[in-house]
Amino acid sequence: MDFYYGMAQLIGVHTLLGLSAYIVLLTGQVSMAQAAFFAIGAYTAGMLTVLAGWHIVPALGASSILGAASACAVGFPALRVKGLMLVIATLAFGEGVRLFFFNFDYQIAKGNIKVGPLGGEGFRQIRFFPENGWTTFDVMLFIWVFALLAMAVLWWFDRSRYGAVLRAVGEDELAAQSVGVNLTAVKVSAMTVGGAIAGVGGGLYAHYTTHIEHSSFNVLVATFAIAYPIVGGLSNVFGTLAAVIFVQAFLVEGLRDLGDWRNLLFGALIVLAMNLRPHGLFGRRHA
């Protein structure tokens, strides 16, 4: 059973990552920066529980706030670039954050060992969960509280005016502007919400893997972040969840027994999925 709880944990964290990109994608912005906010959340939460002895919940709160703040800061200059350029700009930002953590040392002595992030060697021994006796089941429930919360919030957005405005901006900026939608407010707020979700996801990631390093937040992770909502379709949040299950439970775990072929099928199935269902597993929202 432990294995299934572990899988559920992984799916929960990846769903948070996917949802952070989902809301930004609704406004028509393809952001490769979500892995960066994920990283910021991870290091923040890790440092707070390990170095400052905080409980995990306020630590996650802090990582959510920092994720949101950095996303907001990115959101404004992101307004100036469109389409392909935004992808490249956010990719570069993501790489920049990763390289920052590659060079980031902050260790303090606890007893006779030093703890904290150590540049290229990473940040080890983030053991809040096992040290406090949380079982795999407990952690799974904890992660899913946040995942479900994020899904609920985004679902509620979708059913409210805000969601309609987000999608309007995503479909046609000019038309949206001409009916009085404030593009800046919409795009930056979407980016901020995405950053907050990614921050929480990152904080959880740090604690359930107990060891993070710069390469845990590379271009591939940023790509997975946008892959989930694209493969799942932008019609609702369940698309992203379905895509995470498809990729992680089916492609990664389920195909594990195919050994070598798994990796080959991975790329091939993504290409196939996009050709067969270009609007995602759940398709496009029909007006």
Binding site: M1, D2, F3, Y4, Y5, G6, M7, L10, F102, G120, E121, G122, R124, Q125, I126, R127, F129, P130, E131, N132, G133, W134, T135, T136, D138, Y208, T209, T210, H211, E213, H214, S215, S216, F238, A242, I245, F246, A249, F250, V252, E253, G254, L255, R256, D257, G259, D260, R262, N263, L281, F282
Partner: protein, 397 residues
């Protein structure tokens, strides 16, 4: 909606494979290997798996493992791929824990080992620690000092510290005219980085060499012009490179272009493999590397031949997996495991305790000492790249 239901069903159906053995007639004991079988480092996983399967075949031919009640059980091996990815490594170990495997052998990558050891129970019998209670006996992940993370993690990897200490000592004696050392290091690969700063540099200094500095690069860099110029300027007698085959080859080719040839080349343990010989056989000529495996005696050659039957090649990494299998057989018998699926956790605990008790184990090159923090002190020798092959240069045994 149908697609989703199908996907979810397929996912959990497929993931429910716990590797249960079809032949329930014979008694079996399962050892699960895991490591990188896909990606650029897939050879490591392929070789480890081959070594494990070969060792199991030999053990089974000799009758198998003797259980506590006197009966014999055959060893069954399966191998899971973690793709050198931390999250997958954790998934895999949980999967192994949920199966009937009594012990896990792996992982390949140090960046998987660290998080993986981190989710294991730190101290045995610590009721407040909910970490996983699964013994892990590592064959390949070589970054220094990892086994002490958990009392359930054990390693059978050579101590680079000991080997390079000995190498520099021997070099000092054999070539007293060489006095200076310069380093080359892959800064973003934990193993290489630790191996230069904490091992090669430290040990060179300890043996009276003057270390003039180091040049750095990243693991997928391809432009070494600046680094080679730095090396030329330092003009040290010995160039000590802590990098993996791809960048090592790139560096060596640039050195050839700029006409720079140090008097002696020292390399990283993992570079003493076939990959470098395929990538740049001519340029690596003369490089000296300490290693914990070479086919210098009957057992070593036998292990290599058996592993080759399963399409794996023998090197210090895969041969550690081979050794692990025999050590585990010995531990299983000395601790008298039941082999009974209903006493699985007790058996795992027995194996862990057995591994912790060991003071020395039998390795292919000789006796391996086990240390207090669950690491190994393996016998080693020095090899040199000669005409496209790694030939034994000096055997301190």
């Amino acid at each position: 909606m149908k697609t989703i239901a199908l996907a979810v069903a397929a996912a959990f159906a497929a993931a429910a494979y716990t590797g249960s053995d079809a032949l329930a007639q014979e008694k079996t004991v399962r050892i699960s290997g895991f490591g990188a079988k896909t990606g650029v480092i897939r050879l490591f996983g392929i070789n480890s798996e081959a070594a494990m399967l070969a060792a199991a075949e030999v053990i089974n031919k000799q009758g198998g493992v003797t259980l506590a009640d006197g009966s014999k059980a055959k060893i069954v091996v399966d191998f899971l791929d973690d793709r050198c990815n931390a999250e997958e490594g954790i998934s895999v170990i949980r999967r192994i824990y949920g199966s009937d495997a009594v012990v896990a052998v792996g992982p390949t990558c140090s960046n998987v080992a660290e998080p993986l050891y981190g989710i294991l129970q730190k101290r045995v019998d610590d009721k407040g620690d909910s970490g996983l209670q699964m013994p892990v006996f590592t064959d390949v992940a070589i970054k220094g000092g990892l086994a002490k993370i958990s009392e359930w993690s054990f390693r059978n990897v050579p101590s680079e510290w000991t080997m390079y200490s000995s190498l520099y000592y021997w070099l000092k004696a054999k070539h007293p005219n060489l006095k200076t050392v310069y380093g080359g290091v892959e800064e973003d690969f934990a193993h290489s980085r630790a191996s230069w700063y904490a091992v090669m540099k430290d040990r060179a200094l300890a043996n009276g060499y003057e270390v003039m500095g180091e040049s750095k690069w990243l693991l997928n860099d391809s432009n070494f012009s600046t680094q080679v110029r730095e090396m030329k300027k330092a003009n040290a007698d010995i160039l000590s490179v802590a990098a993996h085959p791809f960048t090592t080859c790139g560096l060596l080719k640039e050195m050839k272009r700029q006409g720079y040839k140090p008097k002696l080349l020292v390399g990283l343990t993992s570079t003493s493999s076939m990959e470098v010989m395929q990538g740049c056989p001519k340029d690596v000529e003369g490089m000296i590397i300490p290693t914990s495996y070479a086919p210098v005696n009957k057992e070593a050659k036998f292990a290599a031949d058996q592993t080759a039957k399963y399409k794996g090649s023998a090197d210090l990494h895969s041969m550690a997996a081979w050794e692990n299998m025999f050590i585990l057989k010995q531990v299983m018998e000395s601790e008298r495991i039941s082999g009974d699926k209903s006493q699985l956790q007790a058996d795992r605990r027995k194996i862990r305790d057995g591994l912790a008790k060991l003071k020395e184990t039998k390795g292919l090159l000789g006796v391996t000492k086990r240390t207090e923090d669950r690491e190994a002190d393996k016998p080693y020798l020095f090899v040199q790249a000669q005409k496209g092959e790694w030939k034994v240069l000096h055997n301190p045994l």
